[in-house]
Amino acid sequence: MSPRDLFGAALRGLGANKLRSLLTVLGVSIGVGAVIVLVAVGNGSGKAVQDRLEAMGTNLLSVSTTGGGGGFQRGQAGPSAQQYSLTLEDASALADKRLAPDVASAAPVMTSSGTATNGDVSYTVNQVIGTTPSYLPATNTPVEIGQSFTQQDVDSSQRVILLGQTAATELFTRPAAAVGQTIKLGAVDFVVLGVLASKDSTGFSDPNATAIVPISTLRATQAGYGSLNQIVVQAADKDRVDVAEAEVTELLTARHQVPADETSPFRITNSAQILQTSQDTAKTFTALLATVAAISLVVGGIGVTNIMLVTVTERTREIGIRKALGARRRTILGQFLIEATLLSLIGGAVGVGAALIVSRFQLAGVQPVLVPSSIALALGVSAAVGLFFGSMPAHRAAGLRPIDALRHE
């Protein structure tokens, strides 16, 4: 039997029960479509996170301290936590070109929180950051309206403040109206110098619910003279991040006289690491979605098997007649396998088409980004599903002795 004859027989077989074929195709297409769309959503959200992190700057190092250097038992002599605390002097040493040539800038950071009030309106600012002006370019946090404070403001502990978009909106409704106004943070008056540009969220917290003040002012008015939370260091170049990191470690180790046999109490994370971590998270997320989708593909495949079983059972007598007329096992097998594969492939094609349309829209706030290999994979899998799941009933049918098939009721 020529391929064309086989194909014709298979098409007639499918056409004999159009509704049933249609529903089976639907099952497969939902499976295939789900794979493509969900993988695209996972990929899209991964890309979005990556874009935001890249916008943050990839030559950023964040230095913090782990406190003491390991577990000290009571009464034992050892360095106090104080010894390793980061200080303003550390920040200026790191910014010194002679001491750390590959560090472009170093901004000390202290954080606190407080309630800001504008007349009757009050708003709790989760994150009040005390720092120096170099923090803004280093973390890619431009001032959108108004202007930044200067090093002089820091030196003279000026009571000036930069508001994040959310903070400005909460307090003044229109962020533009905030500039030049005076607000209270705690009990102290601050003049609003500027409003920061809006930032996309990279996690659960709102990055716009912030306020930035000169670090000297924060220490004087809010947080006291404790140690720094971290120092934000910008490497001179994207390719010099590792060198800068080594310089920072070396300099801090020397300044704090950390014994050579002790693990470094300083924790330095660079943005490339953060990027890597979030990419790994995105991959896990994508894999999870793909698994869910794969399950629906398998369910679609079971639908194909089910329909082929019904079809084969229904047409057993016909199979008997065909065998009595000289049809070989492989001819019968071919006809039913082509039927099953056609069901899967048509379903696959419809699924791909639907997925291409659906993935042009935002889903759950994510713009899906198609992964070409997922389309090939879904189509391949759907054909394989047809062959695999169709072969079982087809084999059963083809293996029947003619008389047994003819006697079938």
């Binding site: 039997m1 020529s2 004859d5 007639r12 004999a16 007598r317 016909e318 008997g320 007649i321 065909r322 065998k323 009595a324 007329l325 000289g326 049809a327 070989r328 096992r329 492989r330 001819t331 002795r401 003619p402 008389i403 003819l406």
Partner: protein
């Protein structure tokens, strides 16, 4: 000589099931049919006629005994070779016609030709000729459910004839037909036999048996009489 016989079955038994519920449909049947014979098989219901015919048509296999068809032992043939035998050497006609539903008369007739790997054009030509032979050229594009019983059986005969088989096996071919249609079918069998084809037909009707030249009586799984009648 043994080698001459077209059909040669030797001590064939067929048992359905096993143990206490076993049914012995054939209890040792030996039969030789030479090429060109016209044989009628008669016997009461359940005597094993259809069982015998299915074995002759390679649709079923004997439980014991041998079946030599045209000089080769059927049990030794591969599955594909058996399919080839069914398609080319044997034309089988059933009491219940067994046309493929939702498929036109001509497509039904073309089917064995398709399995015999004939080209499309050749297939169509031969199928049309076979339909012409049974006088149904004007019904070629009708589906089985648009044909009368007699017409359906004539399509089935055309289908059995299409590949030009040497043997025609018919299991109660006129069982579902009226007097007139029966006459038509029998007339066709006469012609085919006159052409040199071997015809074996199972029947309950004396009128049908009378056309054959040899009559075999089956009873309880055994051949009880075998005589040349004409």
């Amino acid at each position: 000589m043994a080698a001459d016989a077209l059909i040669d079955i030797r001590d064939v038994t067929k048992t359905y099931g096993a143990g206490e519920t076993a049914v012995h449909a054939l209890r040792g049947v030996s039969l030789r049919v030479e090429a060109g014979e016209y044989v009628a098989v008669m016997g009461s219901s359940g005597s094993g006629k259809s069982t015998l015919m299915n074995i002759l048509g390679c649709l079923d296999i004997p439980s014991r005994g041998e079946y030599w068809l045209d000089g080769s032992n059927v049990a030794r043939l591969t599955e594909d070779q058996q399919a080839l035998v069914r398609g080319r050497k044997i034309g089988f006609i059933f009491q219940s016609f067994n046309l493929i539903p939702r498929t036109t008369a001509i497509a039904n007739v073309e089917l064995p030709l398709t399995y015999a790997h004939l080209r499309r054009a050749e297939r169509h030509k031969r199928a049309a000729r076979a339909l012409e032979l049974v006088g149904l050229s004007d019904r070629a594009d009708h589906r089985p459910n648009q044909l009368s019983g007699g017409q359906q059986q004539r399509v089935a005969i055309a289908r059995a004839l299409a590949t030009g088989p040497r043997i025609l096996l018919a299991d109660e071919p006129t069982g579902n037909l009226d007097q007139h249609s029966t006459e038509e079918v029998l007339g066709m069998f006469d012609e085919l036999n006159a052409d040199g084809r071997t015809v074996v037909v199972i029947t309950h009707e004396n009128e049908v048996a009378a056309r054959a030249r040899r009559l075999i009586q089956v009873s309880d799984g055994r051949i009880v009489a075998d005589e040349v009648t004409r």
